[in-house]
């Protein structure tokens, strides 16, 4: 082959590259490109990832996330219809699965046992809500690490409240047990069996409902998104189980159902929200939703309710007079892995008093109130 031929070839090659580049520059719309490349499109401080749309129902203002795949752009009524329909579908499915379980229970224990009746009743009671987020609310939680005794009651309450499959050992709240001198998660011992110890700090970790959640940005099907009140939810009717979000979450907050999800009619919590504790499907991801089925209707979360030392506080982050802001102002707060850039809305702080008190005689959990109590406790146990 001759020199000339080679250089001609190269020139043709370059021409081809230039032409291809030109075509792609001309055809791509700038706004579209910007939309894709701009990492965090947020409308001011208020609003979910991707922006929000407001609507009015019965005089109250609500908000729908634009990232919500059931939203019909510019048509809030239709969006609401879609959400209602989804709730209905999920309710039917939950009832069907519950009844299956109830039948099994009744067959196993006999028709006239109270368990059988209770199971049936639970199935009847199932309501799957589609309550929207109210305008002007951004939930947040704060946790006093000086109070937390690492008893894991929140983790268990969470499992019960949220219909987590008991056969898989999934817990949305993990309590991390660390030394007090350095809050480095690598030191963590999450399989501890005794406590509380004076020289340890117990950090319950669940989803931080990040302001900039990496988990939803990676989801290829938009099965998970941030609601306008800040709660990051997963729709188990969309999740494809690719586990990219588990990989992306810096707090280990997401869990996959690695096997068929069993529903137990006896222990089922019939108060459900379509994006919360409605029984999930096999091979889909689930996570903490700050008890969306309770908090959207004016309640508080199960973990706040159960905490025996009152270490947890739940409230509206934007409420200047609210408990969260008060705690931040008074004690100062920190978040886990701030370097991850996720801006968690789960604040930790070291409150004014320690539980157990530092001068308690015994640091162990059963007897931190002092020796006398311990004896009593023992007697009571034996009696």
């Amino acid at each position: 082959m001759s020199e000339k031929k080679v250089s001609k070839t190269r020139r043709n090659l370059l021409k081809g590259v230039a032409a291809a580049g030109l075509v792609s520059v001309i055809t791509a719309k700038r706004e579209d490109l910007m939309k894709i490349l701009e990492p965090y499109p947020k409308e001011g401080e208020e609003g979910a990832f991707g922006g929000v749309e407001y609507l009015e129902i019965n005089g109250e203002e609500y908000a729908i996330a634009k990232w919500n795949p059931y939203r019909v752009p510019g048509n809030p009524e239709q969006s609401v219809e879609n959400l209602k329909e989804l709730a209905k579908k999920k309710e039917e499915d939950a009832k069907r699965r519950c009844k299956q379980s109830a039948e099994e229970i009744c067959k196993r224990l006999g028709e006239d046992r109270p368990e059988c009746k209770l199971a049936r009743k639970h199935c009847e009671e199932i309501v799957v809500k589609w309550t929207l987020a109210k305008k002007g609310i951004r939930w947040a939680m704060a946790l006093d690490l000086n109070k937390c005794i690492g008893c894991r009651r929140c983790a268990y309450a969470c499992v019960q409240e949220n219909n987590v499959d008991r056969t898989q050992g999934i817990e949305w709240i993990k309590v991390v047990n660390l030394t007090r001198d350095e809050l480095e998660l690598l030191n963590s011992d999450i399989e501890y069996t005794s406590g509380p110890y004076k020289d340890r700090v117990y950090i319950p970790v669940a989803c931080n409902q990040c302001e900039y959640p990496p988990c939803i940005m990676v989801c290829p099907v938009r099965a998970t998104w941030q609601e306008p009140d800040g709660i990051v939810i997963v729709d188990s009717y969309r999740c494809i189980g690719c586990r990219y979000c588990i990989t992306a979450c810096p707090y280990g907050a997401r869990h996959l159902n690695w096997k068929p999800v069993s529903v137990d009619a006896l222990t089922l919590n019939p108060n459900m929200h379509e994006f919360g504790n409605v029984p999930r499907e096999v091979h889909t991801v689930e996570k903490c939703t700050w008890c969306i089925q309770r908090t959207r209707n004016g309640g508080t979360t199960a973990c706040v309710e159960i905490c025996p030392v009152g270490a947890r506080v739940f409230g509206n982050f934007w409420d200047e007079e609210g408990p969260i802001q008060r705690i931040i102002k008074e004690y100062g707060a920190f978040v886990l892995k701030p370097s991850a850039g996720t801006k968690p809305r789960f604040f930790y702080y070291f409150g004014p008093a320690r539980t157990p008190p530092l001068d308690a005689e015994n640091p162990h959990s059963s007897d931190w109130l002092g020796g006398g109590k311990k004896e009593e406790g023992k007697k009571g146990g034996e009696a």
């Binding site: 082959m1 090659l13 081809g16 795949p69 940005m217 280990g252 690695w258 091979h283 889909t284 370097s339």
Partner: protein, 468 residues
């Protein structure tokens, strides 16, 4: 024109199947292995997901599925060793490797058509066939990996193909796009080559078509692996991946393993196709190019090692690296460097092969370093080896083994151990995962041989008569 195209299609079908008994034996073996893998996948791992999707969401009749052995309450991904701690396992590990092999294919096309090198032109169609097979293995592995395969197709694949990606910010979207585009481009490339070559020595594909092919395919080739690297390298949650070197490192070692694989296949093909001959200099140059890429890969590893162990780095990153690097014979060197971090791993004698239950990671890592250096030294300093067929096959095997050690488990798994909350959760593939992975590979090899035969026949027809 239409008749010629139909003839080409017929040519593909005819030659894909009219082989000798060896051809058929290979096809049969691969078909069996892949059927076995797919049966295990559909009947065990994905069974409940398939059932739920088909029956509850799409209204199919459940009875037929149950008769087929697909039951709603049995099976599931629990039978893999993946967990919430180690979310991606063997499938994604090998996915990364095969994306790499695929990426290398088209670069032969660039060498061949860009520089009009007659020797490389003989190899180029086979390289494209290899790219097709490798992309298919990669896609199959992802499909086997997702929990809800049918839903993946309905909610992700279809909308993306229709031009409405549900989430244009997810790198998965782009990976899916580039992988599929690359697959299609390579199918077209193979088709073009066979379409003209089969008719004899005087027929060449028109130049403008080949330029168009190259201009589209070459960036895509780099693109598929770059985007695959982008999937993981921007995640703060996984410090070991976090850094801009992951994608370049992917590409570097891909350019080593892909050509090495092609060399072996081509040398084997020369044995069976009498008129298919590739000049020796092509093999030698290819091997040298692969080694150059391997050196870049080794250099990247060195650079990462410095970043990880010289001064203090992020503890989580170093904790993950310790599982990757530590082995008895380096403990003497590494211990002083990591000793300040030892207290994070109290209870684990880290001066063994990595973390308990994960020893294979450290072994594979050092296998990569040692085999890589060995292959480099042998190729450069023992010219006799790289000038004989046997030597080339030997060196290529070394390169492939080195890159398999580097690109599979040692890239994906260590970033999960310890996980985001500092928990060590060992991962070791279960027999089910191994079988399904083998099945995916068999699918690729099956396609490879079915496409390669017509391609080689066409190359024979074009170059075989002593022209050119």
């Amino acid at each position: 024109m239409v008749i010629e195209i139909l003839k080409t299609i017929w040519y593909f079908i005819k030659y894909a199947f009219n082989g000798g008994w060896r051809h058929w034996a290979f096809i049969l073996a691969m078909a069996l292995v892949s059927a076995w893998g797919i049966a295990l996948w559909a009947g065990v791992q994905a069974a409940p997901a398939i059932y739920v999707q088909l029956v509850n969401h799409l209204g199919f009749n459940g009875k037929t599925l149950i008769d087929l052995g697909i039951r709603p309450n049995e099976g599931g991904m629990v039978y893999t060793d993946m967990s919430d701690s180690v979310a991606w396992g063997m499938y994604i590990s090998f996915f990364v490797f095969w994306v790499g092999v695929a990426a290398a294919g088209v670069l032969f096309g660039v060498a061949a058509y860009g520089f009009r090198d007659k020797g490389f032109m003989r190899l180029a169609p086979l390289a494209e066939a290899q790219a097709i097979a490798a992309v298919l293995v990669a896609l199959a592995l992802v499909f086997f990996d997702v929990g809800r395969p049918i839903r993946t197709f309905l909610l992700m694949a279809l909308p993306i193909m229709a031009g409405k990606p549900p989430n244009p910010k997810s790198i998965f979207t782009y990976d899916f796009l580039v992988l599929n585009s690359y697959l299609i481009v390579n199918i077209i490339g193979v088709f073009l080559a066979v379409h003209w070559y089969r008719r004899g020595p005087k027929y060449e594909p028109p130049k403008y078509l080949m330029y168009a092919f190259m201009v589209i395919a070459a960036p895509l080739a780099i693109g598929i692996h770059t985007v695959t690297g982008f999937i993981s390298q921007a995640l703060t949650a996984r410090p070991l991946w976090l850094g801009p070197l992951l994608a370049p490192r992917y590409v570097a070692t891909a350019l080593a393993a892909g050509p090495a694989f092609l060399l072996i296949v081509s040398i084997i093909a020369e044995k069976f196709y009498k008129k298919y001959k590739v000049p020796m200099y092509v093999y030698e140059k290819t091997l040298l190019a692969a080694i150059a890429a391997l050196i870049v890969g080794l250099y990247f590893t060195l650079s990462e090692t410095q970043e990880l162990f010289w001064y203090t780095t992020e503890p989580a990153k170093r904790a993950q690296a310790i599982g990757l690097y530590l082995a008895p014979f380096v403990c003497g060197i590494m211990k002083p460097l990591v000793k300040d971090y030892m207290f994070y791993f109290a209870g684990h004698n880290v001066c063994r092969w990595g973390y308990p239950g994960m020893e294979y990671i450290a072994i594979l890592f050092w296998a990569w370093v040692i085999l890589g250096v060995l292959a480099t030294l042998l190729t450069i300093f023992v010219p006799k080896l790289r000038k004989s067929y046997k030597g080339i096959v030997f060196l290529s095997t070394l390169i492939i083994l080195a890159v398999v050690a580097e690109k599979t488990f040692t890239i994906v798994i260590p970033a999960y151990v310890p996980d985001a909350l500092g928990v060590l959760h060992p991962y070791f593939p279960t027999p089910l995962e191994v079988a399904i992975t083998a099945g995916a590979h068999a699918v690729g090899l099956l396609v490879y041989i079915l496409v390669a035969r017509p391609v080689l026949k066409a190359v024979e027809a074009h170059y075989g008569e002593g022209h050119h």
